[in-house]
Each structure stands twice: as structure tokens, then as C-alpha cells.
């Protein structure tokens, strides 16, 4: 472990809303190249953790570093898929245009998108199987298609670390499999993928790394070592039986 590079390192992180801590003294190291699930009950601070790593929420204490440097210096290494419900899908624009937004970060302020950005966006759409819908209004897309558009947008960011907030929420089984296959490909290409995840049943099948979170960090490590009844019980507070070894 010591020789492996750390994609994300968090020290003594505390985040509070109106002085009520939602994340309490978190220490967390995520090695490069893992596909990691963050699991925990509702209100455990899973989304907050991602948003704090990405600088969207300011912590009251602690530090976060991405490949050893603060986030503000490493923006271009990071892609983000917010929860699907966090945006207004009636916004007047097309699927392609939303995917193009992924290229804005590397482009910087004021500069306009050109052929190069369009090409990146189209390639990303093809990877998620959404090329045929490129000119579709986003309000006309199904929930699964909207999620794929968000995923394509993250691919267009062309990052080293991908953060995803519940990418499987409200999508059908086909889309879920399509998404997880893309995430596994990203890992194969050496990328680090960090996913807020709800479905405990699929953790061993989808992920190789897991973090248990419930306001405090309960455990983090390889799925095969730490995804067990003991940690599930500590995290969810009840005797949580998941057939891990079946």
C-alpha cells in the first residue's frame, strides 16, 4: 500500500450544516485505480463527503488532497456526476449540449467550444450508447438516458478520478449493467472511480473497494477483506445480513 499512489487523501475532515456535524473527523485514503463504493444509511453524509472533496461544500476542519495537492489545483484531474435529480431537466437544451459541458473545465473561462470539443462529446456519447439521441431535448429523455448523458458528460471531462453520486438511482437493469461496465472499463484504464451507492447486494459484484460511512468513517478497504456482517452492522446499526459469500 505504501508504494501505491493515493488518488484521494482526507485528514481529520469535519463538515457541519448549521453547526450540526454531518461528517465527523474523517480520515480516508483512496489508492489510485480502485472502483470504490461509499455505502451508509440515509443521512450518513455520503453525498456531502463527495461534495466536500470537490470543494462544493466547505468543511469546518480538515484537509482534502487529490494526488497530493488541494482540489483547486487539480480540477482537471477530476470528473463529477451529480445526482440526476439535482438539475432541472426542463432546461432548454439538447443531450449533446449537456455532454459538451464536460469540456468547459479544460476550456476555461470565456473560450468557446469548437470542433475539438464536439468530437470529444460525440465520442463520449457513443461510449454510453446515446449517440442516436444527441439532438434530443433533455426533457424528452427517460431517467436511464438522462443518467447516461450525465455519465457521457463525465467521460468528456477526461479525468483521472471520477466521482458519482448514486448513478444507479432510478435506472432500469439494462442501464445499470451498461453503466457498471463503463465504470469497470475506466478502472481497467487506470482511473479511480468513487461511487455513492445504495444497493448493498451488488457491492461485491461491482466494486473492489468500499468505504462504510455513517457520519464517522466505519471502515475502508478492499471489498473482499472488509465487506462483512460486522462492518454492515456497525454502519447500519442493525444486524444486517447480506449473503456476501454465496
Amino acid at each position: 500500500m505504501d508504494t501505491q499512489k493515493l488518488a484521494v487523501q482526507i485528514d481529520d475532515l469535519t463538515v457541519a450544516y448549521n453547526y450540526k456535524p454531518v461528517l465527523w473527523d474523517i480520515d480516508l485514503s483512496v489508492p489510485e485505480g480502485v472502483l470504490m463504493a461509499i455505502v451508509g444509511p440515509n443521512g450518513a453524509g455520503k453525498s456531502t463527503l463527495i461534495k466536500t472533496i470537490l470543494g462544493i461544500i466547505k468543511p469546518i476542519a480538515g484537509t482534502v488532497s487529490i494526488y497530493g495537492k488541494p482540489y483547486s489545483k487539480q480540477r482537471k484531474l477530476v470528473a463529477y456526476v451529480p445526482q440526476k435529480g439535482s438539475v432541472d431537466w426542463d432546461f432548454p437544451t439538447t443531450a449533446l449540449d449537456v455532454v459538451m459541458m464536460g469540456t468547459y473545465g479544460k476550456l476555461g473561462w470565456i473560450k468557446r467550444t469548437g470542433q475539438k470539443e464536439k468530437k470529444i462529446a460525440l465520442e463520449s456519447m457513443e461510449k454510453v450508447g446515446m449517440l442516436t439521441y444527441k439532438n434530443r431535448q433533455i426533457s424528452q429523455l427517460s431517467g436511464g438516458q438522462q443518467q447516461r448523458v450525465f455519465l457521457a458528460r463525465a467521460l468528456a471531462q477526461d479525468a483521472s478520478i471520477y466521482f458519482m453520486d448514486e448513478p444507479f438511482q432510478g435506472v432500469d437493469a439494462t442501464t445499470e449493467i451498461a453503466i457498471i461496465n463503463i465504470l469497470k472499463e475506466l478502472r481497467k484504464a487506470g482511473k479511480t472511480v468513487i461511487v455513492v451507492h445504495h444497493d448493498l447486494q451488488t457491492v461485491p459484484e461491482y466494486f473492489d473497494w468500499v468505504t462504510f460511512l455513517n457520519v464517522k468513517k466505519i471502515a475502508t478497504g478492499p471489498v473482499k477483506d472488509i465487506f462483512n456482517d460486522d462492518n454492515l452492522t456497525k454502519t447500519y446499526g442493525i444486524n444486517y445480513k447480506v449473503a456476501v459469500n454465496k
Partner: protein, 386 residues
């Protein structure tokens, strides 16, 4: 047309354009109410600015008053962040306080100051041509034309420069922040531009009617297009059209110009709300009716498909079997016949080959819920376009 007439229309059109552009983003950000708040709370800024500059068109006055607008937004957000009250309540708390400070300032100094509440609230476009910009002895036209022209120029320049940033921060603030495009900077930028526009426009159309020019064109355009650039163009066009036709309506009715402009905006919105091709009320109701009929049609065809026995398919029994009212049964039967989906022989209904194929396709769609199964059917049936 006399030259003051042309000047009035020109000012109205420019005010309308300058308002419509920030209006689009206010509507998309669901912040229409904040423009109302700004329009009221700039009053103390205008009064204080007027004490200092003695000139309603002075750039210093505009900046001072616009600052009050931005302060309003900051105060609203501060109160909201305490978590004790919601945004609408916070807005309702802040702007009346600022507005009433303005009213008191005017009342206390009414004797010395040529400024009254009515003028600020309602404006008077008809007087705009009287206040000229004189350079030496040369007459450069009405001052408000220059003021609003400059504001419009700045607004358009900012829009062109920051279009991409405005779009992404409006659609997805979380992503923007991750990309390094600060949503906060764009938010206060938009608030500043809106405040400056409201202040610049109050003299011509009044602080209250500015709200109509900001919100109504954008809301109308929103019903007509699903493309942001088109939405901006349409908003600007509606604004200008209402400004010009409102002016002539006022002329004809011998009424307030700004009142007529706002009324025109309202009428255009209402017409669009009713008749817009996709999102309009009538079109939505029609589509719902069609969908109801088509759902009934498929239910009917599935029934025919499932039942071989003639008794189930007798024309007089359909009604009781599928539990419909007579009118509905007739409509559905006619629709099926018209599309050659069924044939009637000795009062017994049976599926045609086309009907059978259609039913199977529908079934496949219902089971798989896959869009591509029904692509060819979308042409003929509303149901599948939804």
C-alpha cells in the same frame, strides 16, 4: 411620425431588449421574484443617489441604486441561510423595508427634491424625450436613450463573453463549481446586471413594470422553444414587439405607455399559454384526449386478440365487456375501423392482419417499454409520442 414619437419607441425597444436578456436567466433559475424585490428595493438607492448627483440619469446614481439591488440579494440569502425562513419569506421581509426607507426619504425631502414615488414606480416614457443630452450646444438626443443604450451594450457584451458560463451555472451549479466556473461569481454578475438594468429602466418604464419586461418575454419564450439561444432571441423579439405595439395602443387609447406595454406582454403570454404548439394548454388537453382514446383502442384490440369466441366480439356486447360508455365505444370502434385495424362482419368484430400486427407491436412495447419498438407507430398515434 414625429421625432419624439420615434425616440419614445426607440427607448422602449431598447429597454425591452436590455430587460429580456437577464430575464431569460432569471426565469430559468426560478428567480423571477428576485427581480420584483430588486425593483422595489432600489428606491432608497435612487433617492440617495439623487441627493448626491441631482440627476436621475447620472451613472453614479445608477451604480449606487444598483448596489442597493445587490445588497437586497445578499440580505435575502443571509436570512435564508439561517434556515429559519424560506426564500420567498426572506424576499418578502427584505424589500418592503428597503422600499419604505426610500418612501420616507422622499417624503422627508419632498420640498427640495423633484422626485416622487409615482414617478419611480410607474415612470413616464412620454417625458423621456424632454431630457436631452447636450454636448456643448449640440443635441445628442434623449439622455435615457444613451443610458439604456449603454446598459444594453454592456449586457450583450457580457452575454456573448459569458454565454457558456451562464448556461452551465444555470443548468448545473454543482458541476460548474467542479469545473472551476464559479456559480457564485455568475450569480452575483447576473444580479448586478439585473440591478443596473432595473435602475436604468425605472425612469422610462417605472420600477414595477420593469419586472413585466424581464419576466413575461422569457416566460413566453420558454413555452415555445427548447433551445436556449432561441429562447433569448424570442424573448428579445417579444419584448421589442410589445414595446412598439404597446406604444401605439397607448396612443390609440390615450393611456399610459408603460401600462400598455405591460398589458401587451400579458396578452402575448396568455395567447402563447393557450395556443403554444407543444406546451400550450389546448395542445396539452388535445393530446391527453387523444392518448385516452388510443389507450382505449389498444385495450379494445387486446380484448379482440384474446377472445376467439364470437359472443365476446359482438358489436352490441363490446360495451359491457370492456365496461365503456356507449359514446366511447363508438369513438374507439370508428377509430379502429378508420385505420383498418378491425373489420365488422355480421356485427362481429375481428382484427385485420394490420390490426393483429399492431396489437402485437403494442404488446411488445407494453412489455419491453423500449422506444425503438414503436418508432414507426409514432407517425400515426399520439400515444407513442409522449
Amino acid at each position: 411620425m414625429s421625432s419624439p414619437q420615434i425616440e419614445i419607441q426607440l427607448i422602449a425597444a431598447i429597454v425591452a431588449m436590455a430587460c429580456a436578456i437577464p430575464g431569460v436567466f432569471l426565469v430559468l433559475r426560478k428567480m423571477a421574484l428576485i427581480s420584483d424585490a430588486i425593483s422595489h428595493s432600489i428606491l432608497p438607492g435612487i433617492v440617495i443617489g439623487f441627493f448626491v448627483t441631482q440627476d436621475l440619469n447620472s451613472p453614479l446614481l445608477i451604480l449606487l441604486a444598483a448596489l442597493t439591488g445587490v445588497i437586497t440579494v445578499v440580505m435575502v440569502e443571509f436570512i435564508q441561510k439561517t434556515g429559519l425562513v424560506k426564500e420567498d419569506t426572506a424576499i418578502g421581509l427584505v424589500f418592503p423595508v428597503l422600499f419604505s426607507i426610500g418612501v420616507i426619504l422622499i417624503a422627508k425631502n419632498a420640498n427640495d427634491v423633484h422626485l416622487d414615488v409615482d414617478a419611480v414606480l410607474l415612470g413616464e416614457l412620454a417625458f423621456a424625450p424632454f431630457d436631452r443630452l447636450l454636448v456643448g450646444v449640440a443635441d445628442w438626443g434623449p439622455k435615457s436613450l444613451w443610458v439604456m443604450g449603454s446598459i444594453l451594450f454592456i449586457t450583450i457584451s457580457l452575454l456573448i463573453l459569458f454565454y457558456k458560463e451562464l448556461k452551465v451555472t444555470t443548468f448545473d451549479a454543482g458541476l460548474s463549481s467542479v469545473l472551476g466556473i464559479s456559480p457564485l461569481v455568475m450569480h452575483y454578475g447576473l444580479m448586478s446586471v439585473s440591478s443596473v438594468t432595473v435602475v436604468g429602466a425605472f425612469d422610462a418604464v417605472g420600477a414595477i413594470l420593469v419586472v413585466a419586461l424581464m419576466i413575461a418575454p422569457a416566460a413566453t419564450a420558454y413555452l415555445l422553444t427548447e433551445d436556449l439561444k432561441k429562447m433569448i432571441w424570442l424573448s428579445v423579439s417579444f419584448g421589442v414587439f410589445s414595446a412598439i405595439s404597446g406604444y401605439w395602443a397607448a396612443n390609440f387609447l390615450d393611456a399610459s405607455i408603460s401600462g400598455s406595454i405591460a398589458t401587451t406582454l400579458g396578452v402575448i403570454f396568455l395567447a402563447t399559454y393557450l395556443f403554444a404548439p407543444k406546451k400550450g394548454l389546448i395542445s396539452v388537453l388535445y393530446r391527453q384526449k387523444q392518448q385516452r382514446i388510443e389507450v382505449s383502442l389498444i385495450t379494445f384490440l387486446l380484448h379482440l386478440n384474446r377472445h376467439e369466441e364470437e359472443s365476446e366480439r359482438h358489436i352490441n356486447h363490446l360495451q359491457e365487456h370492456i365496461n365503456w360508455q356507449a359514446v366511447r365505444a363508438r369513438t374507439v370502434l370508428d377509430l379502429a375501423e378508420k385505420n383498418n385495424l378491425v373489420e365488422i362482419e355480421n356485427n362481429v368484430v375481428s382484427l385485420t392482419e394490420k390490426g393483429l400486427a399492431f396489437t402485437e407491436k403494442s404488446l411488445e412495447y407494453i412489455i419491453s417499454n423500449k422506444d425503438e419498438k414503436i418508432e414507426p407507430m409514432k407517425e400515426d398515434f399520439f400515444l407513442f409520442r409522449g
